[in-house]
Structure formats: structure tokens, C-alpha cells
């Protein structure tokens, strides 16, 4: 499996080439370099997955982890050292496939979407950097390597959100994303340090002895790591950066802020899952409740947003909440009952990556066609953009949980796991799934049906996108249709044992009924040209509507906390102290040095005789002192 190193090297090389020499190349060449290297990475990833999953299972019936490459990078002590390497196990191989597929599709799609943009080469360079970092993150052999790539992913996300660096909103959004996630990563880093201190290792499998000794510190370390994961995965209340991150180019949103980077937190929890289950089940349940609340919050905000990318962003937050819940409701490692959520969460990660990337790319086509993000500039677009329409509908059905699309299967497993855990979580998640169906179809009808903005469309006729943009749509739609039938439980389960996905018809039936009811409601409210019901509801519950539209004032709350409380009560006194005490002390040092120099300066008058007189006087004094002693 030595070729796995190429999976990391190729995007890195492509980044280096494009970053160093990209400006000398034409758009076509630079795009081809990025896309071809990514194509090679995709092929290698599929090959890796094929070889890995067709290999013989071990005696316990699991796919064993493999480390094709590992070298010691920074040794602290004999035991504690930071390594760099490649770890292959079911979830990292799964992530390799997801990342390379979506990234490859986005590379192709960007050919059309970014055509003629200034900084096309820079865009492809950053895409390569991101892909490299993300791949490095998922194959990390230890928590510290993961952290290094975690930050690299954050940087490339920052660079890509701020791609249109002449737009103030984009700059603000990129800074916000970076600062919020960095703030969360502080928790991650502290967690890593606690983990390293007590476990005497950074690997994911510490020795039993150390685990026993750590006692209560392990749940703390894992909880702090989850804060980092919550920052990257936009869990409430650290979600505020993700909606703003939509200022970046839409393919970037599809790649980073829907399919790959934002599920890094889920991946982190899944990576630490054995430790969570064995030593910190309570922390895992906190994860579940945070995920559930986030899912509900984001779904309710998504119901009223008018910017289509914002709707998709909140939908992403909500769906990541689903994955977190799925991981959090596990109480054991047996995939047949208590550990079902693990497999369900990873399955949903996989299917969600595909259909959410599809939704974003579809949204990109629409924005490309009407040059706006606002829903009121759209409506009735189904006539103009048939391919986008059909693929978008498929993705909506998938996310709503209608069989036979992939989302149905993964969501059904999640709901089953939730009902196994507690009826409250089960019913709560079912309702949120219904809300998902509702707001997705509100979006769908708002774009493709509803009231057409005739003046605008007459002025600028919307058109179907070129093949470079529709091909990824069709491919992802195909995956979305088929992915549900993948025997996912054969590949990824909580303890590696084989598990056949089978539907629990009570749960599945309920969720289908709820989803169809929600879709029907959305159809009734939004499919027609005239929409009296939503307007009436918005009037009746104007406060609630407004609060939801403003995302329940979370951004304002954060601004209040940072600007009014932290800046005023902590930063301002610190600044005062810095300016008046530390700076003044430094000024005093400078002044006293200067004054001493001014005093001593007349001695240096250039008269050789006065120098020798001082010297002679000194000799006499020293001699007398020596005599007297």
C-alpha cells in the first residue's frame, strides 16, 4: 500500500506548482494541472478503498487498521513523540473516498463556474492545498498530526472564503470563520495536551495502564477535543461562522462548507469513539444533546431564510447535528443495537456529502444563471434549467428522506439508533427530519416553481449551465440515487463486525409519513404563484419570524459578549496597563540610558591627556587598595 503516500503528495505538488508558477500559466493549463492531479488522487483513493475492503478480515471478523507509513517527526521524550504517517482503517478510507470524489467533482465544476475569473490559478492552488490538508487530516496516525492538518484545513478555508478579497463582506466572513474556529481549536489543543500528558502518547490507542491512571482527566480531554470539533463542524453556539462563509465561491461552499471540512468534527468524534464509549460515555451524551439542539435550531432558522446559500448552510449545520446525534446516542460498541449510531452517523456523513455537494453545486448553477442569491429573483426556473432542476429535486428528496434515495437509508438508521437510546431523542429527531423536508421543499419550490420574477428574467434569460458544470451534477445525482443500496454496514461499523442494514419499518414508516406530510405542507404553501399562507404566518408571528430570520440573534449575542464585555472589561484594562505601565517602564529605561549617556559623554572629549589622567588616577587608586588589603 505504499502508493497511498501519493494521495498526499500529488495535491501538495499541484499546490506548489500552481502557487509558485500559476500566474505564468493560462487558466486552462492551471485548471488542468489541479484537476488531473485530483483525478489521479481519486483513482488512487478508490484503489486504496478497493484493496482495503477486499482484503481478508481478521479472525475477529474486522478490517484491521494498517499503517503503510509512519515516521517520527518531533520527539519530546522517548515515549511521547509526534509522528507523521498514514493510517488506513474503515473510516479513514471512507473519508478518502468522500473527499476525493467531491473534490474531483468540484474541480471539474469550477472550470465552468470560475471561468474568466481573476485569480483562477490562485483558486485552483488553494483548492489543492485544501484537498491536501483534508486528506492529511483523515489519514492522521495520531492526534497531533490531525491537529496540524486541522489547522491547515482552517487556513485553506480562510483563504477560499476570502477569495474575493476585494469584497468587504468576504473579508469579514473569512476573518470570522478563522477566528471562531481558532477559538474553538484552543479547546482542541488543550485537550490534546491533557491527552498527551496523561496518556504519554499521541496515538489513538493509548495503553490500558495509562487509561486507568488518567481517571477523570480523559473525559475532560475528550470534551475539550469535542469543542474543537464543534467549532469546525459548526455546532451551536460556535456555528456563527458557517452561514457567513457562504461569501466564498459556491464550489468552495460545496467542497469545504458542506461535504468535507465541516464534517471534520464528526470525524474527530468517530476517531476517538472507542475511548468515548469506554471511558467517557457521559461526554458522548453531551455530544448527542448539543447535536440535537443544533439540528433543531438550524432547521428552524433555515425555514425562513431567503438567501438560498444560507438555507443550504443552515441545512448543513442541521445535518451535521444529525451525525453528531447519531454518534452521541451510542452506548456500546455492538453494531446490532447499542453501537448502531456509529455506523449510521458515518453512513449519513457519506450520503450527506454527496447530496449536499449536489445541492450546493446546483445552487451554484442557479446563481450563475440569475446572478443573485436571493430567492425572490428566482421562481419558475424549471423551464430554463432542466438538468439542474431534476438533479436538485433528487437531492431534495434524498435529504428529505424519501426512499429510495440515499438520505432515506442513512437517516432511517440514525432515527433507529435514536429510538434505541430514548424516545425523546427519537421523536425529536423525527420532527427535525420533518422540518428538513419542509424547508428543503420550500427552497425547491421557491427556486423552480412559485412566482416567477418575470421582469428580471426577461431582461436576462436564465440558461442551463455548460457541461463542465452539469456533469458533476449528474454524477452526484447518480451517486445519490444509488448510495443507499451500498451495504455500508459491511465496511464501517462501531467495532468492525459485519452488519446488514435492515429497515425498521415502524421507524422508517413514521419518518416517511412525516416527510411526505412536510413536503405536502410545503407544496401547499409554496408551490403556487400566490402564496397567502406564508405571508399570513409571517404577519401573525412577526416577532418569531423576524427572530428566526435574524438567526435568533446569535451573532448579535456574540458581538455583545466580545465587544461589550470582553473588549471593555478585559482588553481595555489590559491595553491601558500595557500603554501606561509596560510602555512607560520601557520609556523610562530608554530615557535613563540616554541621560546616562549624556552625562558620560563629556568624558569622551578626544583629549588624550585627560584619558591618561583618568587611567593614571585609576592605577594609583587600585595600587593603594591592593596595598591596604
Amino acid at each position: 500500500m505504499d502508493y497511498t503516500i501519493l494521495i498526499l503528495v500529488l495535491p501538495m505538488l499541484s499546490f506548489l506548482i500552481l502557487a509558485l508558477a500559476g500566474m505564468k500559466m493560462s487558466h486552462r493549463v492551471s485548471g488542468l494541472i489541479g484537476t488531473l492531479s485530483l483525478g489521479a488522487v481519486t483513482v488512487l483513493s478508490y484503489l486504496t478503498a478497493f484493496v482495503y475492503f477486499t482484503a481478508e478480515r481478521t479472525a475477529e471478523g474486522v478490517h484491521s487498521s494498517m499503517i503503510p507509513l509512519n515516521f517520527e517527526w518531533l520527539p519530546f521524550t522517548n515515549q511521547l513523540h509526534i509522528d507523521m504517517g498514514i493510517l488506513l482503517d474503515p473510516i479513514s478510507v471512507l473519508m478518502l473516498v468522500v473527499i476525493s470524489t467531491v473534490s474531483f467533482m468540484v474541480h471539474i465544476y469550477s472550470f465552468g463556474y470560475m471561468k474568466g475569473e481573476i485569480g483562477f490559478q490562485r483558486y485552483y492552488a488553494f483548492l489543492s492545498l485544501f484537498t491536501f490538508s483534508m486528506l492529511g487530516l483523515v489519514v492522521a496516525t495520531n492526534i497531533f498530526q490531525m491537529y496540524v492538518f486541522w489547522e491547515l484545513v482552517g487556513v485553506s478555508s480562510y483563504l477560499l472564503i476570502g477569495f474575493y478579497y476585494t469584497k468587504p463582506e468576504a473579508i469579514a466572513a473569512s476573518k470570522k470563520a478563522f477566528i471562531v474556529t481558532r477559538f474553538a481549536d484552543l479547546g482542541f489543543l488543550i485537550g490534546i495536551l491533557i491527552y498527551g500528558y496523561y496518556m504519554k502518547t499521541f496515538t489513538f490507542t493509548p495503553s490500558e495502564e495509562q487509561l486507568m491512571q488518567a481517571g477523570m482527566m480523559l473525559p475532560w480531554a475528550l470534551g475539550l477535543m469535542f469543542i474543537g470539533g464543534a467549532g469546525k463542524s459548526a455546532m451551536f453556539p460556535l456555528h456563527i461562522w458557517l452561514p457567513d462563509a457562504m461569501e466564498g465561491p459556491t464550489p468552495v461552499s460545496a467542497l469545504i462548507h458542506a461535504a468535507t471540512m465541516v464534517v471534520a468534527g464528526v470525524y474527530l468524534v468517530a476517531r476517538m469513539f472507542p475511548l468515548f464509549i469506554a471511558y467517557a460515555p457521559q461526554t458522548l451524551h453531551i455530544v448527542a444533546y448539543v447535536g440535537m439542539f443544533t439540528a433543531f435550531y438550524a432547521a428552524s432558522v433555515a425555514c425562513v431564510q431567503s438567501d438560498i446559500k444560507r438555507v443550504l448552510a443552515f441545512s448543513t449545520i442541521s445535518q451535521i447535528g444529525f451525525m453528531m446525534v447519531a454518534l452521541g446516542v451510542c452506548t456500546g460498541t455492538n453494531p446490532h443495537d447499542t453501537g448502531l449510531g456509529y455506523m449510521a452517523g458515518m453512513f449519513h456523513l457519506f450520503t450527506h456529502a454527496m447530496f449536499k455537494a449536489l445541492l450546493f453545486l446546483g445552487a451554484g448553477c442557479i446563481i450563475h444563471a440569475v446572478h443573485s442569491n436571493e430567492m425572490n429573483t428566482m421562481g419558475g426556473l424549471r423551464k430554463y434549467m432542466p438538468i439542474t432542476h431534476i438533479t436538485f429535486l433528487i437531492a431534495c428528496l434524498a435529504i428529505a428522506g424519501i426512499p429510495p434515495f440515499s438520505g432515506f437509508f442513512s437517516k432511517d438508521e440514525i432515527l433507529t439508533a435514536c429510538f434505541n437510546f430514548s424516545p425523546f431523542v427519537g421523536w425529536g429527531m423525527t420532527i427535525i427530519a420533518g422540518m428538513t423536508a419542509f424547508y428543503m421543499f420550500r427552497l425547491y419550490y421557491g427556486i423552480f416553481w412559485g412566482k416567477e420574477n418575470k421582469e428580471l428574467h426577461a431582461e436576462h434569460v436564465p440558461h442551463e449551465s455548460p457541461l463542465t458544470m452539469t456533469f458533476p451534477l449528474m454524477f452526484l445525482a447518480l451517486v445519490t440515487i444509488c448510495a443507499g443500496f451500498i451495504p455500508f454496514g459491511h465496511f464501517v461499523t462501531s467495532n468492525g463486525e459485519l452488519y446488514d442494514i435492515h429497515l425498521n419499518w415502524v421507524v422508517a414508516g413514521t419518518s416517511i409519513v412525516v416527510a411526505i406530510a412536510a413536503i405536502a405542507l410545503a407544496t401547499w404553501m409554496y408551490a403556487r404563484e400566490e402564496q397567502p399562507v406564508p405571508a399570513m404566518l409571517a404577519r401573525r408571528f412577526s416577532k418569531l419570524h423576524r427572530a428566526a430570520y435574524k438567526r435568533f440573534y446569535m451573532d448579535e449575542l456574540w458581538l455583545f459578549v466580545t465587544k461589550k464585555i470582553i473588549f471593555r472589561c478585559v482588553s481595555a484594562p489590559l491595553a491601558w496597563f500595557d500603554r501606561h505601565v509596560i510602555d512607560q517602564f520601557m520609556n523610562f529605561m530608554a530615557w535613563s540610558t540616554n541621560a546616562a549617556g549624556e552625562e558620560v559623554q563629556p568624558l569622551q572629549n578626544g583629549r588624550i591627556q585627560s584619558y591618561t589622567m583618568w587611567f593614571f588616577g585609576g592605577v594609583i587608586v587600585l595600587s593603594i587598595m591592593l596595598l591596604l588589603i
Binding site: G606, R607, I608, Q609, M613, F616
Partner: protein, 105 residues
């Protein structure tokens, strides 16, 4: 036959020479007079080397040769110093220490 002169007497003479030189070095302002004082000090030191060699270590010769090389170096030093003094005179038309307080200029 003994050498009747006591070593202390030589040293007293050289001390007088030495401190005359120091006194002259501080009071004089003419560069050539300064140089004369320096020669006095140098000679006092040379006498001390020779006397100590002769009286205290009669079998050795280091002090003797040190004096010899001291004389040679004094000659060299004088030559350079006088060249500098002549150059100073050419620039400022007099040779006082007060005129040459700047390193460059």
C-alpha cells in the same frame, strides 16, 4: 670584587625618571614635548629590565634582550610619531594636543 652599588639605588633613579615622564606627559601641550616625556618613561622601564636581569637573575639574559628590543621599538615609534606630528603641523600650523581632539575631520 663586589658591585658596591645597591640595586635599590638604580631603581630609585628609574622611578624619578618615570614620574618625571608622567608629570611631563600631563603638563605639556606641545606634541614633541609630549614625545620627550614618553621617551623618558620608556628609558626608565628599560633600565628596570636590565637592572633586574643583572642583579636578580645574573645567569639569564631576557631582561637584556627586552631592553634591546624596547630600544628598537622606541625608535620605530618615534619615527611614526614624528611623521604624524609633521603632518599635523602641515594641516593646522601648530602642534598642540588641543588641536587634535577629533578622530576624523
Amino acid at each position: 670584587m663586589e658591585l658596591e652599588v645597591h640595586v635599590i639605588h638604580y631603581l630609585i633613579v628609574s622611578t624619578i625618571m618615570m614620574f618625571c615622564g608622567i608629570y611631563g606627559f600631563f603638563t605639556r601641550k606641545n606634541l614633541l614635548a609630549l614625545l620627550i616625556s614618553v621617551e623618558l618613561m620608556l628609558n626608565a622601564a628599560n633600565i628596570n629590565f636590565s637592572v633586574c636581569n643583572r642583579y636578580l637573575f645574573p645567569d639569564a639574559l631576557e631582561g637584556h634582550f627586552f631592553s634591546l628590543f624596547g630600544i628598537a621599538i622606541a625608535a620605530a615609534e618615534t619615527a611614526v610619531a614624528i611623521a604624524i606630528i609633521i603632518n599635523v603641523y602641515r594641516n593646522v600650523k601648530q602642534v598642540l594636543t588641543d588641536d587634535i581632539t577629533d578622530l576624523k575631520g
